[in-house]
Amino acid sequence: MSTLHLINKSPFEKDAFDSCLRHALPGSAVLLIEDGIYGALRGTAPGDCLEQATEQQRYVLVEDLRARGFGPEALVTGVQLVDYDGFVDLAVAHEPVQSWL
């Protein structure tokens, strides 16, 4: 099974997002949660990096996106939305789960 990478910190404040994208292997999955969702915003430097990470599956937790006032139209292309149930499915389908705190 491939790795599920979890990012919960803003890419504008911490380097977890950058380091994760530097280390995530092709075929792994990256899920942005909590303040990590800011890494998927269109028209930003982190968003551009995420858009170019086409060898990874990229996900955003929709509850955390909505809480912060954004919707799918604000995201770069190639990113899939998941809800809490989808989060569980991803956690079951991947191993290990690596949290980039």
Partner: protein
């Protein structure tokens, strides 16, 4: 209290809402402190500008809506509500997407504003 005796206090909001409690705690502190007759202002920069994003719906997180808390700032007699232009641009936010119309300042002017305060409280 005479204006000359009033201290200039600036709250500097640098954190995104919800991931931590810094934003909400600082906004609550300001709401209480603004009643004590000082010259209080607030500046939003770096990830703090995300506190201003319209349409926040944190109900699922069980947390206070920071957008609403920011709007309540307009009820206080604040010196000013300032927003750093570069921070908005880096995050692809337009002034029209914010819950209130603060004074948008370039970084160089905000730096000057912070330097002119008696007290800067950074969160």
């Amino acid at each position: 209290m005479a204006a000359a005796n009033k201290k200039r206090i600036l709250y500097v909001q640098r954190r995104a809402p919800y991931g931590t409690l810094y934003a909400q705690e600082a906004l609550e502190m300001l709401s209480m402190g603004a009643a004590f007759g000082q010259r209080v202002g607030i500046a939003f920069l770096d990830d703090g500008v995300f506190q201003l994003k319209a349409e926040q719906t944190p109900g699922a997180l069980g947390m206070k809506n920071s957008g609403r808390m920011v709007r309540a700032l307009e009820l206080h007699d604040l010196e000013g509500i300032y927003v750093e232009q570069e921070s908005l641009v880096e995050r692809n936010l337009e002034p029209g997407q914010l819950v209130l119309a603060g004074k948008v300042l370039p970084r160089v002017e905000l730096s000057q504003l912070m330097a002119e305060q008696d007290l800067v409280l950074s969160f």
